[in-house]
């Protein structure tokens, strides 16, 4: 192949491919193709979901326990001083210990379950993608850069983890925390709920703005990064030529420019998206203060106890926190879907050269080779095929030398014989049998 002139055909760059995939509407069938993958590990995922539910319950126990101490553990006597009910306090402290132990212990359990599900699932997928790739025809490898194939099996498979494994329990846990906190606030007092909920529109608006700004810049950062990395890889590969031609300084200057471009893009990206976390922390504080103002009103009016108000202050993080996480979850979901699309695209690629349904027996090869009116071109649309109506017969046991100038199809003939490529016209016969009609395995014998 190396000695064949290949006309310049445009191969899609990774960025172009990504853009093309991003524009495609999410196919509904994608979901149904992904779901069966989960089957073998469904018990793990269910277990993780269950662990998250118990975990959230334990998390909610804490503010309630604090409320107990404030309202009942400390009893105000006639002089205005407080006396400590040690019995209640001891129970509450024990409960708090259990809550923390459960919080972190169950997080570990949930992590283990979803993590081991991910490891099992992704790696069996990795093997099946590799298996598929290994059986694709040589032509596919000519058209597709090897780096891209490797990254399908490597990075894209890994990117499925948040979509398939981490996603469901995390999403559920986030929703559960937010909804539970909302319900508990509502039960305490609808006023408290509304005072905190008034923050949500602002939070959603800023999340949307953040996504918009971050995404528009992210591609540029990634591209700049790819550029300087490629430059470095190339420097290592071509170091001999750089030394030979004394290009060390100018090469370094070029690298410096690439790095500076990358840093500038990165910093611009951070400036445009870095405000988000800080802005949400202001919003959280605002939410807490609104809660104090309206909670103060409710306490003053005697609608709720002070302990209830104090407990509801701990709901602020539980209520607003998950809403901030949703954006992050959504982003990882999008990334996972893009990776899934690329993987399916590859799995849908069929080998062009397949064994016939019923291969002819092909044993004890004598070694008689015949090219009959063979026409072949690497690119079927090309005007001048590499091989034009070639007829050639090599008898068994004969040693034949084929000579010719560079790039005139000598090695192409060999690759047609081993059926790396398919002829477009005529036939290649071994012992009188068309190589298309026999199983590909014994071709190795040639």
């Amino acid at each position: 192949m190396a000695s064949n002139p290949v006309p310049a055909i445009r191969v899609m760059s990774d960025i172009e491919l990504e853009e093309m995939l991003a524009k495609q509407k999410l196919q509904r069938s994608m979901f149904w193709r992904l779901l069966p993958l989960l089957r073998p590990v469904r018990h793990f995922v269910l277990g993780a979901v269950l662990a998250e539910i118990v975990l959230v319950t334990l998390v909610f126990a804490r503010p309630l326990l604090i409320e107990q101490v404030i309202d009942h553990g400390l009893v105000r006597d006639l002089t205005g001083a407080y006396s400590l009910d040690t019995h209640i306090l001891a129970w509450v402290l024990a409960g708090m210990c259990v809550s923390w132990a459960g919080r972190f212990g169950l997080a570990g359990v949930s992590q283990y379950l979803s993590g081991s599900a991910a490891i099992r699932l992704l790696n069996s997928l990795r093997v099946s993608v590799f298996n598929h790739v290994q059986h694709l025809s040589v032509g596919y490898f000519d058209r597709t850069k090897s780096g891209r194939i490797v990254s399908r099996i490597d990075r894209d498979v890994d990117a499925l983890e948040p979509l398939l494994i981490q996603g469901p329990p995390e999403f559920l846990s986030a929703m559960l925390r937010s909804v539970l906190a909302g319900i508990l606030l509502w039960l305490t007092s609808p006023v408290l709920f509304f005072s905190l909920a008034s923050i949500i529109p602002l939070l959603l608006l800023s999340t949307w703005l953040f996504k918009y700004l971050a995404q528009s810049n992210y591609a540029r950062v990634a591209e700049n990064r790819a550029r300087f990395t490629a430059h470095l890889v190339e420097t290592v590969a071509g170091v001999r030529m750089i030394k030979q031609t004394g290009q060390e300084d100018s090469n370094r200057d070029r690298y410096r420019v690439l790095i500076r471009d990358f840093i500038n893009a990165l910093i611009r990206n951070t400036l445009m998206s870095g405000w988000f976390t800080h802005f949400t922390s202001i919003l959280t504080t605002l939410g807490m203060m609104l809660l104090i103002v309206f909670g103060g009103r409710e306490v003053a009016l005697g609608h709720i106890s002070f302990g209830q108000m104090a407990a509801s202050m701990f709901y602020v993080f539980m209520f607003l926190g998950p809403l901030q996480e949703l954006g992050d979850l959504f982003e990882r979901y999008i990334n996972g879907v893009a990776s899934a699309q690329r993987i399916f695209l590859m799995l849908d690629t069929q080998a062009e050269i397949r064994d016939p349904e019923q291969p002819q027996p092909f044993e004890d090869i004598r070694g008689e080779v015949e090219f009959k009116d063979v026409v072949f071109s690497y690119h079927p649309e090309a005007i001048n095929p590499v091989i034009r109506n070639l007829n050639l017969k090599v008898n068994a046991g004969e040693v034949l030398a084929i000579v010719g100038p560079t790039g005139h199809g000598k090695s192409t003939l060999v690759q047609l014989l081993t059926r790396f490529y398919e002829v477009q016209g005529g036939a290649v016969l071994v012992d009188g049998k068309d190589v298309k009609s026999v199983s590909s395995m014994p071709c190795a014998a040639m």
């Binding site: 790696n123 059986h135 800080h278 504080t285 790396f420």
Partner: protein, 599 residues
């Protein structure tokens, strides 16, 4: 203290480049966390006012006075806003200096890659060096990000939170302080084991990757031998091993990391218990109790992330070690100071050169002497592995001999001058002596940029001339954008013969005095080869740029184009003369070229 044994610290010391901004960042992180404590203190006061019935007052007519509560709202939201602005600014500032450091380090690596001898590259392989510069540098970047976000910020938050509690009452603070320190201690103890497990996982994954890359890149060989199924099986085995390692590491981290987290979490329980007691003793009010609990919660959740940071740092530590190993390597080849006298034609002589292989064993070249006379076209032949390419690398000093010396000779008007190669400036030597390897490297750039590598000032006419000299003008006509066509890894695919001719043209653009063709015409047919060599021979008359040529050859057609042939065997030149002479006199020569005796 030897700084070399603390590679990560050595990287952090590079912050010396930006001392003002570094300390400013640290100070601002401290200020932001101080403001967090301040904010909590204000919340405590607001909550206390609520409890005392001051924040919202119900007057006798049933009307509400919320002025005190609103007053607190404005103060606290203002503090939060100020804090957010500082954090935004310091986030930008720390990113700028962190990227400055990384960019500097990346440039140092590139410079070092270019500076180190080819021997280092051969010994360590391109893959390893690329890993240094990509994966290891990324691990270091992760550690630097964690340095600001976790180490600096978390230590300040621990200080601020514990200080806040101490300020309310020493009893309140002492528990969380001791518990947090205990948690950290347990975490440190676990880290070593975690890192070991992680490393095993990394190695297992390298195995997976190795098989994966081989499966994709070696697909032709795999198909030719029908190895698909056995390769898949092998891959499955590698993946299974990786899964086993990964599960083990996961089980360890999931079962052990919660322990220190729980210990730190107990700090909040302590605050509740002691706080309630202090309230009953009238040493603390309810507002302060609530604020203390909120602060303790913040502390617990901030420390939760530290477990992962430990791993990031341990990883970065070994990566930094490998990076410094590369940066500390010293190139052995250094140039002299003497300028090269530009007299043509130029010859070169090897005097008793010996080269030993890096790992020990039989010498590649042993007391080898040879002479390329000025203006001569010399062919060097020898069996595979006889040291021909090693010899070629010695000439532009891409490698150095272990003993013996090399001189550049000129012979103008009967005056004989000799200059020792290692006394000359390296750049002069490499400009005058150009080796074209069999597999020339083309950069991912335009054809013109590739041709101009050795002569930046060359005009388009010069490039076209060189392409014509190298019989590569027909390659040019095939390219859609002419000289501006992108070639190399990410450009147009070129055949072996096309690449060789472009590499020849590139060598000719820089007008070397000595051209070494290391099997650089192997993919050309005899007609083209002769055309190229005749063009080079005729350079003297045409441009006044005489070139001496040393051809390392394996094809008879190439050898026939030379004035004289040398046969290299056993590390020495064992035969010397014209082709006809050698055929007549040397049995080894006849054997090497497959010319049977008596023919």
């Amino acid at each position: 203290m030897n700084i070399r044994s603390y590679p990560l610290l050595r990287c952090l010391l590079l912050y010396k480049r930006t001392p003002v901004r570094f300390w400013l960042s640290a100070a601002l992180f401290a200020l932001a966390n101080l403001m967090l404590a301040w904010q909590q203190g204000m919340i405590a006061k607001a909550v206390h006012d609520v409890e005392q019935g001051v924040a919202v007052v119900v007057d006798s007519t049933g009307g509400l006075d919320v002025s005190v509560a609103l007053h607190w709202l404005f103060i606290i939201v203002d503090i939060a806003t100020g804090r957010a602005l500082i954090m935004y600014f310091v986030g930008w500032l720390s990113l700028v200096i962190q990227q400055d450091l990384l960019g500097h380090l990346r440039e140092m690596i590139l410079v070092q890659v270019q500076r180190l001898d080819l021997a280092y590259h051969w010994l360590h392989g391109a893959g390893e060096i690329v890993t240094r510069t990509t994966r290891d540098a990324d691990k270091l970047r992760d550690a630097l990000i964690s340095f600001w976000r976790q180490v600096v910020d978390t230590s300040f938050i621990v200080i601020a939170a514990v200080g806040f509690l101490f300020w309310y009452h020493p009893l309140l603070g002492v528990g969380p302080l001791l518990l947090t320190l205990t948690g950290f201690y347990i975490l440190f103890r676990q880290t070593d084991h975690l890192v070991q497990l992680d490393r095993a996982v990394g190695q297992a994954f390298d195995g997976v990757n190795q098989d994966l890359t081989e499966g994709v890149n070696g697909v032709r060989v795999i198909k030719a031998f029908g190895l698909e199924s056995s390769r898949v099986q092998r891959f499955e085995g590698q993946v299974r091993f990786f899964v086993q390692q990964a599960l083990e590491a996961l089980a360890y981290s999931c079962s052990r990391i919660p322990i220190p987290q729980f210990v730190v979490g107990l700090g909040q329980v302590w605050v509740l218990g002691v706080g309630a007691y202090l309230v009953s003793q009238q040493q603390l009010n309810f507002g302060e109790l609530v604020a203390a609990l909120l602060m303790a919660t913040t502390l617990v959740f901030r420390v939760e992330g530290v477990g992962r940071v430990m791993q990031v740092f341990a990883d970065a530590r070994s990566s930094a070690g490998r990076i410094w190993e590369l940066l500390d390597a010293v190139p052995e080849i250094t140039g002299g100071n003497a300028a090269l006298t530009e007299q043509r034609p130029l010859g070169i002589s090897l005097h008793n050169i010996s080269v030993l292989p890096p790992g020990g064993g039989n010498a590649v070249l042993q007391n080898c002497s040879l002479q390329l006379k000025p203006g001569e076209v010399l062919a060097l032949v020898g069996a595979t592995g006889s040291g021909k390419s090693t010899l070629a690398s010695l000439l532009p000093r891409l490698a150095d001999a272990d003993s013996g010396h090399i001189t550049l000779d000129s012979d103008v008007n009967g005056i004989n001058t000799q200059q020792a190669l290692n006394e000359l400036k390296l750049e002069d030597v490499r400009r005058q002596i150009h080796v074209v390897p069999q597999e020339g490297f083309l950069f991912s750039d335009t054809l013109a940029a590739n041709l101009r590598l050795g002569a930046e000032q060359a005009s388009d006419e010069d490039l076209l001339w060189a392409l014509r000299m190298a019989a590569a003008d027909d390659v040019l006509t095939r390219l859609s954008d002419g000289l501006q066509t992108k070639i190399g890894d990410r450009g147009v695919t070129l055949s072996g013969g096309q690449r060789q001719r472009i590499c020849l043209a590139r060598a000719l653009v820089s007008h070397p005095a000595i051209l070494v063709l290391d099997d650089a015409t192997s993919a050309l047919d005899a007609v083209t080869e002769r055309r190229v060599l005749n063009n080079i021979r005729n350079l003297k008359q045409e441009r006044g740029q005489a070139v001496s040529v040393l051809m390392i050859a394996s094809k008879l057609s190439t050898i026939l184009l030379a004035d004289r042939v040398l046969l290299l065997a056993g590390g020495k030149i064992i035969a010397n003369g014209s082709h006809a002479q050698l055929v007549a006199e040397s049995a080894e020569y006849r054997e090497l070229l497959g010319i049977e005796d008596g023919e």
